[in-house]
């Protein structure tokens, strides 16, 4: 029945429509049944079971059935209650009070209290932990626990969208007994999620078992989840087609056209609009000749965003000029710069380099970055700019980017929840990863980003961030060129599953805790 909806039609709809179509059609068709094992094919293995100490997407994806956060993101990243049932902010905007859900148990049987929240957030804030989420929470001044089911965050400055910063697995709530106090290492994987840890064989599989005392009544349906790293995307797709796995994340984009043309009764392929995040080329304004605005603008005019987007997302993306997919409510109407090689040459001449120049591009070897770099290099050759690619493995690359040791860099940004998330860290001089905008220095930007952070009225924030997007485009150092889609596939027997924009396997109201296997 679900297959009667033509895939091309689905592809044309937004993720929002896709998911709302998929859910009722599949869940209403039959009543859910208990039991069964779902095998999930993912791109890489988790590095460890610590939800805080990792910046890898796979940590967020694969550990989402295990750990939960105070608030949660729905399929389209809308904020929803999770371990906190409600929250409110004081009139001065500095104190946020969260009411905790009652009767939530950790996998070791103990009940969740506000002390666990305090412990977890303080662990993230401890610089020695090396937590991915520390920068996001740097605005927190202190945490109070007036009673076991209330947590109060005292902020250093007002922050209108503070709850969004508590919503990813990187900010998971774990109990103190999961952590060795001497080494600060997670020794036991204990969370509050619908599935509990069973076994982890590195590079082979992560096994999660149904948690019988999970707080949501009747959930989950499945007995077991096996998460298997299958790095080769072709092989991962084949495993889905042959039924060796039940659910495949990151279905190769290069095969999507063919898959949608010839739908199979055995499996479903679902496009996730904007799930591929945004691609960006960064010009280092501290290096010559990119300290010259005209040179940066010349490069920007010479960039064919369509080609770059195709290279990055293999035909499943759209050119953009900001850090959101066109399907996002935060995609703001700011007119894009056209592709204009003549204009680019003219700007170069005005900058005193009519013959072009030689420069280098520091490329990370992974995430499809070399493909984009090659296309960019070919485009720059058209205006006489000779770009030498220097490809480093990911840690060497990260070290160079961190220390600002690059002329040009390209990278990808994850799908974003909120404009503060999308711009502050890159563009604010104190954002933490300022190098990822090429150290773009603009006094107005700092002020706008601070305003956007303090403001909670969406309309006013739209005005503020539209101005941010305009400045970023004019300054031409952080050249966001395209937003891409990702795709997820699952066997037809798996019902009730809805993919989330940033790939969490499990989240209330969707994901694997709502999913069940038809007999």
């Amino acid at each position: 029945m679900r297959r009667s909806v033509h895939p091309w039609l689905l592809a044309a709809c937004s993720a929002l429509v896709v998911c709302s179509l998929a859910l009722p059609l599949s869940t209403l068709a039959q009543t859910p049944v208990r039991g069964g094992t779902v095998i999930v094919g993912v791109q890489s293995d988790i590095p460890h079971l610590d939800p805080h100490r990792s910046a890898l997407t796979i940590t967020y994806v694969a550990l989402s059935p295990l750990y939960q956060t105070l608030v949660d993101l729905g399929p389209n990243l809308e904020l929803r209650p999770l371990l906190a049932t409600s929250w409110k902010v004081s009139p001065d905007g500095l104190t946020w009070t969260f009411a905790l859900r009652r009767g939530v148990r950790f996998h070791n049987g103990r009940e969740l209290t506000s002390r666990d929240v305090k412990f977890s957030i303080e662990r993230i804030l401890n610089p020695k932990t090396g937590a991915r989420g520390r920068g996001d929470l740097s605005v927190v001044d202190s945490i109070a626990t007036p009673d076991p089911s209330t947590v109060q965050f005292r902020l250093k400055s007002p922050f209108g969208v503070f709850p969004t910063k508590l919503a990813t697995t990187y900010q998971a709530i774990i109990p103190a007994e999961a952590v060795d106090p001497a080494t600060n290492q997670v020794t036991k994987a204990i969370g509050t999620g619908p599935f509990q840890f069973a076994e982890w064989k590195t590079n082979d599989h992560l096994a999660l078992r149904r948690f019988d005392r999970y707080w949501e009544p009747g959930r989950p349906y499945l007995d077991e989840i096996l998460i298997k790293p299958i790095p080769d995307e072709t092989v991962r797709l084949t495993a889905l087609q042959t039924g060796d796995i039940t659910l495949a994340l990151d279905v190769p984009q290069v095969r999507l056209a063919e898959l949608f043309r010839r739908p199979s009764p055995d499996y479903v392929i679902r496009l996730v609009r904007g799930g591929g995040g945004q691609g960006v080329v960064i010009l280092n304004t501290r290096r010559k000749p990119f300290d010259n605005l005209k040179v940066r603008q010349a490069v920007a005019y010479a960039m064919n965003k369509r080609e770059l987007t195709d290279a990055a997302f293999r035909g499943w993306g759209r050119p953009v000029n900001q850090n959101f997919a066109p399907s996002s409510p935060w995609y703001l109407p700011v007119k894009d710069r056209p592709w204009d090689v003549a204009k680019a040459k003219q700007l170069l001449a005005e900058a005193g380099m009519p013959e072009g120049f030689k420069t280098t591009m520091t490329v990370g070897n992974g995430y499809g970055l070399p493909a984009v770099a090659q296309v960019f290099q070919a485009q720059m050759r058209r205006i006489g700019v000779d770009v030498a690619l220097q490809v480093y493995d990911i840690p060497s690359w990260a070290k160079r980017i961190d220390s600002g040791d690059f002329d040009i860099d390209n990278t990808g940004y994850f799908p974003k929840v909120d404009p503060d998330d999308a711009y502050y860290r890159y563009l604010h001089t104190n954002g933490g990863v300022w190098q990822l905008s090429g150290y773009l220095h603009n006094a107005e930007l700092d002020r706008l980003l601070d305003q956007g952070r303090a403001e909670s009225d969406p309309a006013k924030r739209r005005t503020i961030y539209a101005r941010v997007v305009q400045i970023v485009q004019d300054e031409a150092s952080m050249l966001i060129f395209g937003s891409g889609d990702s795709a997820v596939g699952w066997r037809s027997a798996l019902r009730g599953f809805a993919p989330q924009l940033i790939g969490a396997l499990s989240y209330p109201g969707g994901g694997l805790q709502e999913a069940w296997l038809a007999k």
């Binding site: 080769d232 995307e233 072709t234 797709l237 084949t238 190769p252 290069v254 095969r255 063919e258 080609e307 195709d310 290279a311 293999r314 490329v363 070897n365 992974g366 070399p370 493909a371 770099a373 090659q374 296309v375 290099q377 070919a378 690619l389 220097q390 490809v391 480093y392 493995d393 060497s396």
Partner: protein, 276 residues
């Protein structure tokens, strides 16, 4: 009759090896003439096309001509083989010769270090060296050279040891030649044959290691047409378009086969002990 047939067989393998190697050299030197297209020229609209009159081997994911890239890849592979073997010989030959000639503690220590290097799986050592040296074909060449130093050193040492026992060396010494003179004038010239054979076979290893490094993404950076790099990029597209994976792989195999055959033939001709 039988003898002639055997000679012919040997001869044939040598001819095949020489022919394949010559083809590689011709492709390497004459790439601009043979390639028919720009190996870096992108045509995104014409990507992943099957072989045709215009694109003999089809096109890759950026619409680049695979024939042109394979031909230019020969240039890269040959260059890597040549330079890395020169490096390995420049370091390994003196080291091995000195160890063999001097003997004693220097020999023991040098050879134990060589053993230690040799005990690492070559590809892993090369990956680490490239990571340490930074990206680029140059790093790959140095890494492969270093990996191959112990091999050349061992062969040189064995050859020097064997020659030192010969009478003409004693004779030269008796005539008052210095150590240096004996080594350079009498011993080394007679050691070159086995080293040359080893280096020819090493060419094949160098091509495989370079391709392996690029296959793992640690070799020649894109967009330079490296056979291993092409194969690495091809993995994503090979289900949709097998050409991208088939031709670079064939090129590697043929080049390696050529050097192996040539090495075998040279061993037969140059090494009198194996000549029967």
């Amino acid at each position: 009759m039988k003898r002639r047939w055997r000679a012919l067989l040997r001869h044939r393998l040598a001819i095949v090896g020489g022919g394949l190697t010559a083809a590689l050299v011709v492709a390497a030197l004459g790439a601009p003439l043979i390639a028919r297209d720009d190996p870096l020229g992108m045509h995104m609209a014409a990507s992943l096309e099957p072989p045709s009159a215009q694109h003999w081997f089809g096109t890759d994911q950026f619409g680049r001509d695979i024939w042109a890239r394979v031909v230019y890849g020969a240039r890269l592979s040959f260059g890597v083989g040549l330079l890395s073997m020169l490096l390995a010989t420049a370091a390994g030959l003196p080291l091995g010769a000195a160890a063999g000639y001097l003997g004693g503690p220097f020999d023991a220590l040098a050879m134990r270090v060589m053993d230690a290097v040799l005990a690492f799986p070559a590809i892993l050592l090369a990956i680490g060296l490239v990571a340490a040296l930074g990206p680029g074909t140059g790093s790959g060449i140095i890494a492969i050279g270093i990996v191959y130093v112990p091999v050349v050193a061992r062969v040189s040492r064995a050859a020097v040891l064997a020659r030192c026992r010969e009478e003409y060396v004693d004779a030269a010494r008796a005539l008052g030649e210095t150590d240096w003179g004996v080594l350079t004038r009498h011993v080394l010239p007679n050691c070159l044959a086995p080293v040359l054979v080893q280096v020819t076979v090493g060419f094949a290893s160098a091509i495989v290691i370079e391709a392996g490094l690029s296959f793992l993404g640690a070799g020649t950076p894109p967009p330079a047409p490296s056979w291993g790099g092409m194969l690495n990029e091809a993995r994503q597209y090979m289900a949709a378009s097998p050409c991208v994976a088939v031709f670079p792989g064939l090129a590697i195999s043929i080049a390696v086969l050529g050097f192996n055959l040539l090495g075998d033939a040279m061993r037969d001709v140059l090494d009198p002990r194996l000549r029967r």
